[in-house]
Amino acid sequence: MKKVVIVGASLAGLRCAEALRREGFTGALTMVGAEAHLPYDRPPLSKEFLTAEFEEDRLALRIEPYEELNAELILGQRAQSLSLEARRITLSSGEELGFDGLVIATGAAPRTLPIADGISGVMTLRTLDDALRLKGALADRKRICVIGAGFIGSEVAATARGLGLDVTVLEAGDQPMLRGVGPIIGETLAELHRSNGVDLRTGVKIESLEQIGESVRVNISGESSLECDLVLLAVGAAPVTQWLEGSGLALDDGVVCDATLLAAPGVVCAGDVARWPNPLFDGESMRVEHWTNAVEQGVHAAKRLLSDDDSAPPFSTVPFVWSEQYGIKIQAAGRFSGEDRMEVVHSGTDDARLVAIFERHGRISGVIGFSEPRRVMQYRRLIGAGAPFDEALAASL
C-alpha cells in the first residue's frame, strides 16, 4: 500500500493516522478535514469550554508536532464523492485524490427540524465554530430553551445553569439522556436537572418556532408558549454519508462494514459514521457516537487496512460513554433498555451515587453509574468477558 487517504480530521481520523504510522506504514498519508481547524476535542464543547475560563488551546488532540506524523493535511475541504473503480475521491474544491487505501471517518452532523428553518435564534452544537457562537450567546442572553434532552442538550443545560441563565429543556420522550432505561434511572436524571433549577418538560411536542425581534417564541402543543433569547436544537446527529451515495458502498444509517470495519476492499471506516456487527453482543449491528469508540475504531481500522489477511480480527468493544452535569459523573457502558431486567447493585447514602446493571440472554449486558467510575469500569469488564448476570450480581464490586 503506497497511498492512504483519511477522510475526516477529527478524533477517529487522527488516531487512525497515528496508528498507521505506528504500525509501520511509510507511504503517502493525506488527511482531509471539513473544518479549517486542526483536530480538536469535542467533549468539552458542551461543558467547560462554554464557561469563560477554559482555554481554546486545551482542545488540541495532538500534542506532538504534526511534522512527526508526516501527513498532508487538507483542511477546510469536504469530500464530495468517491469512485471505488477509479480509487479516487473528489473534494469540494474539485481537487481529486487517488488512493490505494481509504479511511472513512466523516463523523456525524447535528440533525435539524423543519420548524427551525429561518429562525435566526436557533443554534446547533457540533463544531468549535458552533461552540464559539454558543459561548458568545450564553454570555449575553438570559433565557435559553434546549430542545432535546440527550447528552448534548443535557450538558449545555447544566452549563447554562452554571452561568446563571434561565433554562428550559423540552424533550419529546418521557425522560432525559439515557432514554427508555426505565423509571429509576429516568427519574434520577430528571431530578438532577430539576433540583438544579432547570424547567424540564418531557413528553412535549413542539408545534412551531417564531422569531420575534431578538426573542424566539416556542409554541408547544397543549401548553402555553414560552419565550426565550436563544434555542439550542439538540435532537441528535446523523452520520455524514451524503458524499458516498452512488459510490456502491452500502449505506444504512452509517456506512455498513463487516466485523473488521472493512466496507470494501481497501476501504475501512471508523468513528460515528461506521456501522458494524459487534461480536461481543451476538453480532448486533451498531453505530456508536462515543469518544472512546472513535479512538478504538481509528486504531483498529488502521491495522485492518494494513492487513491483507481475510482472517483479520473483528472489532469488538463494550460501548462506553460519560457525561458530567452539575458536578455529577454519569457513565454508561454496554447495551440496556427498559425491556431488560435491571438491578440496582449499589446506592450510596448520598443519593447522587447509584450503579445499576442490565441483563440480556442471561449475561450482564450493560451498566449505568452515577459518580461511581470504579464500579462502572469493573462491571464493564464483566460485560466484555460475557459474564453470566448472576455472577455479576454476586460479585461484590
Binding site: E296, K329, P373, V376, M377, R380
Partner: protein
C-alpha cells in the same frame, strides 16, 4: 517506562482502569491511584492503550534514557 498523570486534567473516568487494571485504580474516594509508577515492559501495550483512551489526555509515559 515511567507513568506520569497530570492530576489537574484527570477527571477519574476510570477508562485507564479498564485498559490496565494492574497499573491504574480509581478508588471510592473518586481519585486515581497509580499502582505501579514504573511498570515493566510487559505492561506497555495496556499502558499505551490507557494513554490513548484517557478522555482528558491526562496520562503520559516517559521512557527512561538508555
Amino acid at each position: 517506562m515511567k507513568i506520569l498523570v497530570n492530576f489537574d486534567l484527570c477527571k477519574s473516568n476510570a477508562v485507564c482502569m479498564a485498559s490496565a487494571p494492574e497499573i491504574f485504580e480509581v478508588r471510592d474516594d473518586g481519585y486515581l491511584y497509580i499502582l505501579q509508577e514504573e511498570p515493566d515492559e510487559t505492561h506497555r501495550a495496556a499502558v499505551e492503550e490507557a494513554v490513548r483512551l484517557c478522555p482528558t489526555r491526562a496520562i503520559t509515559v516517559e521512557d527512561q534514557a538508555l
